[in-house]
């Protein structure tokens, strides 16, 4: 049973989290152990299992990023495994592996990390002047804005995905999946940058 199925939902991404919460409480009551106290051990175990599945499902589906990652996983997209296989294939063919992450994003992430490191080093040297703090604050605002923008991109892709599910258009589904993977990848880098700039500002 998938997390979507436990909530009687189609595998779509643009979901109403308020309705999800309501449904979660309703189902929680249905599977509550107290209601099974007089039932057979087998039924009690089943209820406990459902109850724990329900909790996992709720935690995953209410979070937009985890929901997207979970859907991609259901769709058989295993980034790490793909990456390991692609490396092995490149080695055997004596070729360079095609990177999952676009080169311009890597350049950008690398440059931003370099800047951040310079700022952190200056700070460690006791050079915690006003200008440096301003630079860090500006970097933070920049990264945060980029992270927010990636969220918007993702939300737009949910709509494409959901529309493709409704119309049964496999080509459009695949296109939406690819773009979601790319957006989530970009997000991993941005999330780390935001984390690092926050640490530098502390």
């Amino acid at each position: 049973m998938t997390y979507f199925e436990i909530f009687h939902l189609p595998p779509k991404l643009g979901l109403d989290t308020a309705a999800l919460e309501k449904q979660f409480y309703k189902l929680s009551r249905e599977y509550h152990p107290d209601r099974f106290a007089s039932k057979s051990v087998e039924e009690q175990n089943k209820a406990t299992e459902m109850s724990s599945l329900l909790n996992d499902a709720y935690r995953t589906l209410k979070d937009p990023i985890r929901r997207t990652e979970y859907l991609l996983e259901l769709e058989g997209i295993e980034l790490e495994e793909q990456s390991v296989k692609a490396t092995a294939a490149a080695r055997e063919a004596g070729k360079e592996k095609k990177q999952i992450v676009p080169p311009d994003l890597l350049e950008e992430a690398f440059e931003l990390n370099m800047q951040l490191e310079e700022m952190k080093m200056a700070k460690q040297m006791g050079d915690d002047d006003l200008q440096l703090r301003k630079d860090l604050e500006a970097a933070k605002a920049n990264f945060t804005a980029m992270l927010d923008a990636s969220q918007k991109t993702l939300e737009a892709l949910w709509q494409s995905w959901d529309a493709a599910v409704d119309s049964g258009d496999d080509g459009a589904k695949d296109a939406a999946k690819d773009e979601m993977v790319a957006t989530l990848n970009r997000r991993s880098y941005l999330r780390n940058l935001v984390r690092d700039v926050n640490a530098a500002l502390e």
Binding site: S83, A90, K97, L106, E107, A109, F110, L184, N192
Partner: protein, 140 residues
Amino acid sequence: MAYSDKVVDHYENPRNVGTLDKSSTEVGTGLVGAPECGDVMRLQIKVNPETQVIEDAKFKTFGCGSAIASSSLATEWVKGKTVAEALTISNTDIVKELALPPVKIHCSVLAEDAIRAAIGDWKKKNGSAEAEPALASVSV
């Protein structure tokens, strides 16, 4: 989960951190990333045009201890090898040497990708035709 002694050693005393002249025709640069964790790794090699031996290697990695250790080890291993020999280094060699746990295998994959990307860049700069004979002579 604890890091192995070798990972800690490379992490605390990383070998060959730095930059080589990206514009030199003797230098190949590989920039690779692991989206699973948001790590970025740059590995550069300096190749002797006569012998095809990698005379110097530098890296800069933004990532976890295992990613830093993997790239540090990779620079140590490629130094002194020919380009063709360096291409035989596999991520499983790195996993074994550093005793990386399964969740950190992608770090070793990243290091292998970085070596391959750096060599690819160097070959592009020098025309693959020149690089091929040396490759063939070793693989035969």
